[in-house]
Symmetry: D2
Subunit: 179 residues, 4 copies
């Protein structure tokens, strides 16, 4: 299409929209941090919420993650408003089992911190602890087909980052190898 000549990407705007959209859809950094604690407490019993929130913030600062969050939430909202075309509307609205684009976007988040996050993603996506249970509650009018996978992926990525950080601390290194 005829592109507006004046378009300039503004990363700050995209980062801010990511936080705003998550908040608007009922997801807080603190709820995602709780998932990180759920996943990691047996390995790091002293883990604090404050620490986990920092890992979540770090994940959310990545552009690749922001792209997936915005795209997934947008599709959820449009499905909720009935604005997608049939049959995609029904597929997303009903979180249909053979539809995997939600897992695809989630995986693009996990990948940023490497493959060690796959297991944690699958685990919370199956068990649906905390906020994931709430997002998955199909009794209200909201559609979170994409968001529940995305939130699980952010928690899994934050867990990967934590694993890299803890290793770096153990070795007395100045920084993590995968940042």
């Amino acid at each position: 299409m005829t592109k507006s000549k004046s378009y300039h990407l503004n990363s700050t705007k995209i980062a801010e929209a990511t936080k705003e959209w998550l908040a608007k859809r009922g997801v807080t950094t603190s709820q995602i941090a709780e998932l990180v604690i759920f996943l990691q407490k047996e390995y790091f019993p002293d883990l604090t919420m404050e620490e986990c929130e920092q890992y979540v913030e770090a994940v959310l600062s990545k552009r690749e993650v922001q792209n997936a969050v915005l795209t997934g939430i947008q599709l959820d909202m449009l499905a909720e408003e009935g604005k997608l075309l049939s049959p995609l509307q029904e597929v997303i609205e009903n979180d249909e089992g053979l539809y995997g684009c939600d897992e695809i976007l989630a995986l693009s988040i996990v990948n940023v911190y490497g493959s060690i996050g796959f297991t944690n993603f699958g685990y919370v996506d199956k068990l649906k602890p905390g906020i994931l249970k709430k997002l998955n509650d199909k009794e209200d009018a909201a559609c979170h087909t994409f968001l529940d996978d995305i939130v699980g992926a952010i928690a899994a990525s934050a867990s990967s980052r934590l694993a890299h950080r803890k290793q770096a601390e153990r070795e007395g290194a100045m920084g993590p190898p995968l940042d």
Copy 2:
């Protein structure tokens, strides 16, 4: 959201919508088959259009592929109509370089026929031969941010299927190992 009790997935409907949406967006099986010939003619000089169209049809019959096609085209159309929220609207409308969800969906298509298709996908996505050049022409009112990657991915997948088939023929086997 309160799910309609009467929802039943209908695979035929999804397969048909995939073809209709591609046609509506100006992409024919024959144009994708031309990309397959572009990618494979040096290895198989006798390759016919008819044969390539069959490989493309086979790729398009996979549910995972249909999901990606429908989701990508839907986002393109909504961007074209200005119905996405800012800043996602501007990002997709301008096919912004740091936005990678289009490549992500494309890769989910390539993956179905295995990793040997990655190279072919990247190659046509960079060179933009045939229909890809037309889709990428930014002078008209259409937005094909997702569709050009998706069409390249279908052609790459059809090339992978062809490689498996040709091997099976060579061995006189009854069927291909990756179908």
Copy 3:
């Protein structure tokens, strides 16, 4: 290197080696089928072992899956024999937490049946039911750093295939969309 002029890929040989190597490493089709039942029994209470074994066989017939199985088992065996170079030898021998190439190969298996298998892979990889527990038992002389992820991935893929099949049956279709 100077390639032997006489090399011709033989798919049958690769398929047979896959079964032999799995057997040699202590993994049977039936043990993988048990993982499929573990993953799917709540959705399909009437699922039989025989049926699940057929899904597992179908997964194992794919070339992409065979490649990952052979490569992973080979690395496990070389690590067991101490034949890898340091520090890779120690990393694989100790199934080191920041090493993710085992998950990478596993994911290439799951991908063949599409993204809906990611969740099941992560779930069994975390819980380690049945054969996975045995493979993960670090008290004996064997190294299964790659194999436990690979077996979990085969079970997750077989579950995806089952989901596609059951849908096709429900619709009375002749075949599954993702085969």
Copy 4:
């Protein structure tokens, strides 16, 4: 297997081995930087070798990348020495077309900098400029089935990092969103 009680991961050792193994296999940072220039010079005509080498170094500092480099080179070396079991030995030795584990490991490198690198990976993997042509020369005794894909992936990842950096500079931001 009975794990040595004294095992402690040493990230520095793994980082150093990555550089040493690449050098030993005939690949220098400068040759990879040349691939980055090949991929990016049309977009950034002022790009210097020094700058590109820094991007390559940054990619090589990531643990996920180091894992893939070490694993791929190890398999190449073992194939060269004829130490893999048949039929995997012949498959890797002959860089067989339906074997995709090399692309799989390469993709795990590209993923760390997000999906925008897929296209560049496929493009250099097909065209084989510079060092890739040398690695792919099948007339000598060396086997680089994994290494050529890995080197292409490092160059594609360095290009992605460059794209993020340049955007950050343009916006006057202090740091890149995807680091």
